[in-house]
Symmetry: C2
Subunit: 194 residues, 2 copies
Amino acid sequence: MTTFVTMDKLINYLLEFGQLNQQQIDMVKRKAQVLELKKGDYFSEAGKIPKQVAFIEEGIFRVCYYNSKGDEITKYFVDENNFAVDINSFNQKIPSSEYVQAVTDCTLFVFSTESLNDLSATIIQWDGIINKITEKALVEKVNKLSPMLAEDATTRYLSFLEKFPNLANRIPLSYLASYLGITQSSLSRIRKSI
Amino acid sequence: MTTFVTMDKLINYLLEFGQLNQQQIDMVKRKAQVLELKKGDYFSEAGKIPKQVAFIEEGIFRVCYYNSKGDEITKYFVDENNFAVDINSFNQKIPSSEYVQAVTDCTLFVFSTESLNDLSATIIQWDGIINKITEKALVEKVNKLSPMLAEDATTRYLSFLEKFPNLANRIPLSYLASYLGITQSSLSRIRKSI
DNA sequence: TTCATTATTTGCCAAATGGCAAATGTTTTT
DNA sequence: AAAAACATTTGCCATTTGGCAAATAATGAA
């Protein structure tokens, strides 16, 4: 028996970026695959060429890498209602420099390169939609990365809480600490002091 | 008398992203305007909607903002052979949150919104080319922002030297320090210790 | 060349953050 | 419910970086 899954979130998201008729929507639904990841599972890994793009229907991803000291550093988080992939590696077919990991159990809709090609070949507006989504994702990535330097740790933490109020209590302290550029113990002390 | 300017760098740059015939190239040249900026001049300012896109033929820009303490912080640098603009603000017609300033005297080719619209309406490949350039610029912006946290100041400085070997000696210490997330005096000490 | 301006370095000490290990708290498994 | 595994907090002290002001050095203008 096939589990019934509504892909409403995905479809609504796409429709923000362009029109699709019912037939096209049905094709998108056929090309998307449901994927469930458990907390801690990797969606893609550094050194490998990403083969799929994920739309996060439910859950949180983090994108991370290892710094020169060997510490695992979180670059940023991506949560539900967003696409996630190392866009540059995916497009250029070059190995990614980052890991994409499920921070919580996740429900995803994934598209393979081939599915995307099929969609691109069949749906005339597809490339335009994808371009807009790509640009939006990159702009958001920039916004998640930039405000972090040039403020002290407490300010960075507070502005994280402000910008992502619904993330802080769903992710482990250690991930957040490395995103903020401080140690877990420092973050713990900062939280205490507030 | 009209100053003769070759726009070869610009045209070659565009041709990396798509084909253009001679007639199209001529149109691009007609739509581009030469702009000279002196060291310290602003190309665009926070709070204003960017009206132009610049291709840097010669010189260095920096993109900066004021942090919560009122310090002027350099987010990243852009040098010759690149387009510069706050892409998101430009596209969405919303006020920018950053300043774009000439760090050295600069020679630019600028396109107004109207020129870009004309090019888009006339040259069938134009949007595709612009999309690729936009994506590349955003990916580079991400790459300039991200490796900065999670390393100590010395490592950040060294990796800056490695990634941008021809920038360090062309920009004031204070700009570089704020990009690296440290004070000018700290950077001075780091340089001494190397 | 000389003066004025701007940029960089340095000394001294304070503040912020890190490192490590132990203690405490929470969640998951059996 | 108990045990095991994992996450967070805390103490103590070391290290890094900052703040400020003065000293040099470099650059540009007259």
